[in-house]
């Protein structure tokens, strides 16, 4: 500055004017305050910054960087920061910034999925996302290895990690319209849901994972039987038409039902136990008897009305079913026969003793067949014309025994009742046919001619006899006279007897003429 050059006074006398010295000006408070506030804001932002995680999705549908949130129970726990394609282009990788205490539950088992409006398993969910847009749902897990890379689920999990209940596995030949979310019923009460449906390793079965909520999971006992209760189960059997359905919901969306055998005291099944899923309730109930034995029966007559599944009855009680019907030609004898494979559940025959081994059962069967057990086709239902294979005791049947030589033991058969009747009628006809009818006729004719001669002679004899006894014949007149004389004679004999009574002395002295 140029104070020194001031012309107002002598330079030597002019004092240096103090301008508050070298003290820091108050104005420096402004940057300090700005720095402090900025630092506080920065610290807050950093402290709220949680870990960044990578979630792999099949598509980024509904996911937007900077907008889509990660929510757990509708609480925001993260925000999508970046959506990029996976390196191999097989999906997308979503990078999300989580809240800062998220590490606690970002474990290997933590699951992510996109929550959008969807209709599944008879339920509509996520309607709110129609307006607010999709969000990423998370099912946190507190145990397990910490993880920062996840693969998202295709659909929201049906069961969240903390839910009380148990998982079970059902094995079935086909998935049978049982998508994830399908209800599981116990006595028509919804107690669980289907959570997964995958092919097993061999590809032979579909493994259906179900989750049964507590406390109903205790009802899944070791001997529980599961069946597919989807839709309407209409079956025409030898016992008539049966219609079965679990509920209106299951009619629409399908369902699985389970039950335990009556009076069962089996312990509850452990978690992840595996069960067979039967096609129908009937199949499930039948399957309780578990062990099955297969036998072959051969019929030579028409088996029309016999189908796979037809019952096998013993004394009228179903104990099994037909599993296979074939038609075989015997080239040597040029005959046809129908081998039928039947399935018998020995468990259906209540044994007073402790259930024995199979060999014991076979020995018993041998004995029973020796006593007359035979298989027979019998009409099961006159209306539907269905046949059943009936096992019955035929005491008068020809002696036979089980043929153990083939792949399946063969139970001897007897013809059907109708067939039996027909064949015996046939036998009678054949005998009649074999009679020497011509000869007999000839003999009869000769006999008849001789008879006619005899008859003519008899006629003549009769005619002469007639002449003898006719009213004007001499024999009759003679006879009449004789009779008159005889009457005279008897009267006089009577008179004599009277006289003798009155005068017995006359016998000696003769008759006194007049007294």
């Amino acid at each position: 500055m140029s104070e020194g050059e001031s012309p107002a006074g002598p330079a030597a006398a002019e004092p240096v004017i103090e301008r508050g010295g070298r003290r820091l000006s108050v104005v420096w408070l402004i940057p300090i305050v700005a720095a402090v506030v900025g630092a506080v804001v920065a610290w807050r932002a950093i402290s709220e910054h949680g870990p960044q995680i990578e979630i792999r999705f099949a598509t980024a549908e509904g996911i937007e960087a900077g907008t889509t949130k990660v929510k757990f129970k509708q609480v925001e726990v993260g925000l999508v920061e970046e959506v990029v394609l996976a390196e191999d282009l097989s999906g997308v990788v979503v990078r999300a910034r989580m809240v800062n205490d998220a590490e606690r539950w970002l474990r290997e088992g933590t699951r992510f999925w996109v929550e959008t409006a969807r209709v599944a398993g008879g339920q509509v969910s996520g309607l709110g996302t129609l307006l607010s847009g999709a969000y990423i749902g998370v099912d946190p897990v507190l145990e397990g290895e910490e993880a920062h890379r996840f693969v998202a689920l295709e659909t929201p999990p049906v069961v969240s990690a903390g839910q009380a209940g148990r998982h079970f596995t059902l094995r079935s030949y086909r998935a049978g319209a049982l998508p994830v979310g399908t209800p599981v019923f116990f006595r028509h009460l919804e107690v669980g849901r289907v959570v997964s449906s995958v092919l097993d390793e061999s590809g032979d079965f579909v493994e259906i994972g179900i989750f049964v909520d507590a406390p109903h999971d205790r009802r899944v006992q070791r001997d529980a039987r599961f069946w597919n209760a989807s839709g309407l189960d209409v079956s025409v059997t030898a016992s008539g038409v049966q219609v079965d359905t679990e509920s209106v919901v299951s009619l629409l969306v399908g369902g699985i039902a389970f039950d335990t055998p009556p009076r069962s005291d089996a312990p509850p099944a452990e978690a992840d136990a595996s069960f067979v899923l039967h096609e129908t309730r009937q199949a499930a109930e039948d399957a309780v008897y578990g062990e099955k034995q297969y036998y072959l029966v051969r019929f030579t007559q028409s088996v029309r009305g016999l189908v796979v599944g037809s019952p096998v009855e013993f004394l009228g009680i179903p104990i099994g079913r037909v599993t296979e019907i074939r038609l075989v030609i015997d080239h040597e004898r040029k005959t046809f026969e129908v081998p039928v494979v039947i399935e018998i559940e020995p468990g259906r025959i209540a044994d007073r003793q402790v259930p024995g081994s199979i060999s014991e059962w076979h020995a018993n069967l041998d004995q029973v067949v020796a006593q007359g057990l035979r298989a027979q086709l019998r009409s099961g239902n006159l209306l539907t014309g269905q046949l059943v294979v009936a096992l019955d005791m035929h005491e008068r049947a020809e002696a036979a025994q089980i043929d153990w030589s083939g792949p399946l033991p063969e139970i001897p058969t007897v013809p059907a009742p109708l067939e039996e009747l027909t064949s015996s009628a046939m036998r009678i006809a054949q005998k009649i046919e074999r009679l020497p009818l011509d000869e007999i006729a000839r003999d009869v004719r000769g006999a008849l001619e001789a008879l006619r001669g005899t008859l003519a002679q008899t006629d003549r004899t009769l005619a002469s006899t007639q002449g003898l006894i006719s009213p004007g014949s001499p024999v009759i007149g003679e006879l009449q006279r004789t009779l008159v004389e005889l009457r005279e004679a008897s009267r006089s004999l009577g008179l004599a007897a009277d006289q003798l009574q009155q005068e017995p002395e006359s016998l000696i002295f003769g008759r006194e003429d007049g007294p």
């Binding site: 104005v27 700005a34 720095a35 804001v41 907008t67």
Partner: protein, 212 residues
């Protein structure tokens, strides 16, 4: 325009004009620390703005500090039907660019990003040049200062937009707009740079240029 080598200045003559009413006063010798006041309007009189450079530097530093959160933090968040979106100034610019609104994007970018930076840089340069006693192109430097002062207020456009939107868009669940912390910092940047420009005394440029 090059300044004449020796021009008589008020200060050289021991005078100073009042900033408010322009009255030329004599800078009499006075007690240390005593304030001189304009006899006409009562405003403080000083030959040059006191501690001009120090103040300018302090305010520039504060502005620079505030500039970072102003751009990093969102200035407002729009909640419409449950979907909340927070936007920073730059994300707004990017949004308009992506949607083809080039003119709007240019306006926002110029007013909100470019101008504050420009002001901070120009003022820093001017303060530095004065401090180092530069005699280089004083007229251009003065023009730079004038531009800085003129353009400064336009940066407030963003703040106005945010405040107006926040006040207008109050549709409950349908849509709401909330100001965010970034807006506070942005407003601070604008105000502080304006104060910094105000505290800088352009006559210092000429004091050196016309050197003694």
């Amino acid at each position: 325009m090059s300044a004449p080598a020796s021009v008589p200045t008020a200060l050289a003559a021991g005078c100073a004009s009042c900033h408010e009413c322009g009255l030329l006063c004599r800078l009499a010798s006075h007690a240390p620390g005593a304030a001189l006041r304009c006899p006409r309007c009562g405003a403080e009189i000083h030959g040059r703005k006191p501690r001009s450079l120090e103040r300018t530097w302090a305010l520039l530093l504060a502005a620079a500090i505030c500039y970072v959160p102003a751009n990093v933090l969102p200035v407002m968040s729009v909640t419409s039907v449950g979907r909340t979106q927070s936007d920073t100034i730059l994300s707004g610019v990017v949004y308009f660019v992506q949607h083809g609104d080039w003119p709007l994007a240019v306006v926002i970018f110029t007013a909100s990003v470019f101008v504050p930076v420009l002001k901070i840089v120009i003022l820093a340069y001017l303060a530095l040049s004065v401090q180092r006693g530069s005699r280089w192109r004083p007229a251009e430097r003065t023009r730079l200062y004038r531009i800085t002062e003129a353009v400064g207020r336009w940066s407030m456009v963003d703040i106005y937009v945010v405040t107006i939107l926040v006040a207008l868009v109050r549709l409950g669940a349908l849509a709401t707009i909330q100001p965010e912390l970034g807006a506070v910092f942005f407003g601070a940047v604008v105000v502080i740079t304006m104060l910094a420009a105000e505290s800088f005394d352009p006559r210092l440029i000429w004091d050196r240029a016309e050197g003694t």
